[in-house]
């Protein structure tokens, strides 16, 4: 706040661009972990966020799964919320007015059981004031295709992307599932399908069992694993995807601190999303913004953009250079 000398502003430039969308800083809140933002209004300054991504919205309201829906695991948690949400129409009338008045970019996470549903939700969101982007959750099962998730088949992933893209009047971010053999193939498919950016990762599929009852802990049997436990997997997938696509990549998975966020940026992420950490510290996303700003100041970065993809690989030292005359074991 103020100037060191004419033209040198000490406020670090934290802006990043997700396609045509400029964010004040690279920190967003991950879908399903930040409600519809209002829940956090007394706990942090919502205006500090790069963007808010709201709970996944479907065409019709969904009641969600019976309890228990969550269970803690080692450095993580499983959830099977069952995509409980108010449906796109009530979202628009009940939730969007508050969100629009925040004057920060609001990205609407959407999900469907068929291409037609994805299209229809997008169409209804078109023209709604305050909607700055759409994030497409493609981890949902395609009911028409025997329940295979849209996100595990490249052709289906591309098809959802272009279906949404056709109806959308805002940038489209496609959110990838980590539960695939080769995420690069899916990433390229959604890029070809017209995605403006890619976010990853959604949760890993996991399970917990209660030995006492001999039952799965979750009523839904399986659930999505999130939190610090999955960060190494997320970092690797972001790194892989950022190398093969030319659209911006948004990193998600176990981010709790500015250090975590900056590691994702080094791996190639243009921005990040904070998920489970919001539950542990409702101020987590604002704390990450503060931490990134402090880092930028300390490192005298003219723009935080200079960090994106800045990972330095170790000098190649092929195994063959280390002759194995006397292996230690």
């Amino acid at each position: 706040m103020g100037e060191l000398s004419p033209g040198i502003n000490v406020l670090p430039d934290l802006r990043v661009n997700i396609g045509s969308l400029e964010l004040a800083n690279p920190v967003m809140t991950a879908s399903g972990t930040f409600g519809y933002a209002r829940e956090f209004e007394n706990l942090m300054n919502l205006h500090r966020l790069g963007a808010v991504i709201v709970k996944g919205i479907s065409l019709h309201p969904r009641a969600g799964n019976p309890p228990p829906r969550i269970v803690e695991t080692a450095c993580g948690m499983l959830n099977a919320i069952g995509l409980q949400n108010v449906g796109v129409d009530r979202f628009i009338t009940e939730k969007m007015p508050y969100l629009a008045a925040l004057h920060i970019p609001v990205i609407v996470n959407i999900l469907g059981d068929s291409l037609a549903e994805y299209e229809e939700i997008t169409a209804r969101l078109a023209g709604i004031a305050g909607v700055a982007g759409i994030e497409v959750n493609i981890s949902c099962p395609n009911v028409k295709k025997g329940g295979v998730a849209f996100g595990t088949d490249p052709a289906m992933a591309a098809a959802v992307t272009s279906a949404v893209k056709k109806k959308a009047d805002v940038p489209v971010m496609v959110k990838l599932s980590p539960n695939v053999s080769d995420i690069k193939v899916i990433a390229r498919a959604v890029e070809d399908g017209g995605a403006d950016s890619i976010s990853l990762i959604n949760t890993l599929i996991g399970m917990a069992i209660d030995l006492k009852t001999k039952q799965p802990v979750l009523a839904n049997v399986i659930g999505g694993l999130s939190g610090p436990a999955i960060k190494p997997v997320a970092l690797r997938l972001v790194y892989e995807v950022a190398k093969v696509v030319s659209i911006p990549v948004i990193g998600i998975g176990g981010i709790e601190s500015a250090e975590d966020a900056l590691e994702f940026m080094l791996a190639g992420a243009t921005a990040v999303q904070i998920g489970t950490a919001n539950f542990l510290n409702p101020r987590a996303s604002e704390d990450v913004v503060d931490g990134i700003a402090a880092y930028a100041v300390a490192e005298k970065l003219t723009s935080i953009r200079s960090l994106i993809g800045g990972l330095r690989l170790p000098a190649a030292r092929p195994q063959s250079l280390i002759p194995m005359k006397n292996p230690a074991k």
């Binding site: 399903g32 972990t33 930040f34 409600g35 829940e39 956090f40 007394n42 706990l43 709970k55 009641a63 969600g64 799964n65 019976p66 309890p67 228990p68 829906r69 969550i70 269970v71 803690e72 080692a74 450095c75 993580g76 948690m77 959830n79 919320i81 409980q84 939190g227 610090p228 709790e256 489970t276 919001n278 539950f279 542990l280 510290n281 409702p282 101020r283």
Partner: protein
């Protein structure tokens, strides 16, 4: 509705029985605005394991900013908590949820079983503060054995309501279940029941109240990740369909709002 994340200092740790503890925290901002029946979410340690905050009812607050919890060691989080020493700090988040709605014009019957006693001290205090006279109000407390009730009795007795106790083994008061005791007592006319205890106990208490047309408020539990409406993890089937979220719409409900296993 104010909520705070407060770095609270442990000022006292009391061990009442093998597994039951009372923790006193210096936590002025949360203590200053809490209502009986509300809860806090505690981060038991600095690491990532255990990861999630743990929910605890507010046992008592004091004007000097102290906040008390009464808890039982059931797992890793509560085990760590029991080992805290005065001077250590903890992150406390609260006050959370919807507490008891006290009706100052109706005699109160306050019913607690086991660890369900936790929020009732705060409730009794507030109840007696609201009314000029709480001598018509009843407090019915149950537990497995004497040792689980006795250390808290003096605190409750200070307020002058009539206290009845039941223990499974008869070591204190009525021998048997709290519901038997309730059935045997003449409940004051026009009373309201405020209840907290094990699920099965609350189911029979709410069914008793329904059959006698007595308004009944219960405080229920659920697994929780966020404690403030963000995760939708703490769902519980609601009487009129769909789910209610314990951290926002509860933990205190009119018994009629909930579906009870029959």
């Amino acid at each position: 509705m104010s909520q705070y994340q407060e770095k609270a200092t442990v000022t006292r740790v009391e061990q009442f029985s093998e597994k039951n503890y009372r923790l006193t925290l210096d936590c002025p901002r949360i203590a200053g605005c809490a209502q009986p029946g509300q809860f806090v979410m505690l981060r038991v340690g600095p690491g990532k394991d255990p990861l999630l905050r743990r929910p605890f009812s507010i046992h008592q607050t004091r004007a000097d900013g102290r906040l008390q919890l009464y808890f039982k060691v059931v797992g890793r989080g509560t085990d760590i908590l029991a080992q805290k020493r005065p001077g250590e700090t903890l992150s406390v988040f609260g006050p959370l949820g919807r507490g008891y709605r006290l009706d100052a014009t109706s005699p109160s019957v306050i019913v607690g079983g086991g660890l369900g006693i936790a929020p009732l001290l705060f409730l009794v205090k507030e109840n007696c503060r609201l009314k000029n006279d709480c001598s018509k109000d009843l407090l019915v407390l149950g537990a497995r054995e004497k040792i689980e009730l006795e250390p808290l009795l003096a605190d409750f007795q200070a307020f002058g309501l009539t206290i009845h106790t039941a223990t499974d083994d008869g070591s204190l008061g009525h021998r048997g279940f709290i519901i038997e005791l309730m059935q045997s007592l003449p409940l004051p006319a026009g009373c309201t029941v405020y209840c907290c205890g094990p699920e099965a106990m609350m189911a029979v208490v709410s069914s008793l109240c329904r059959s006698r047309a007595i308004p009944c408020q219960v405080s229920v539990e659920s697994v929780m990740a966020c404690g403030m409406g963000a995760c939708l993890g703490c769902s519980r089937p609601a009487a009129n369909g769909g789910y209610t979220h314990v951290c926002l719409n509860g933990p205190v409900y009119d018994a009629e709002e909930l579906l009870w296993e029959s």
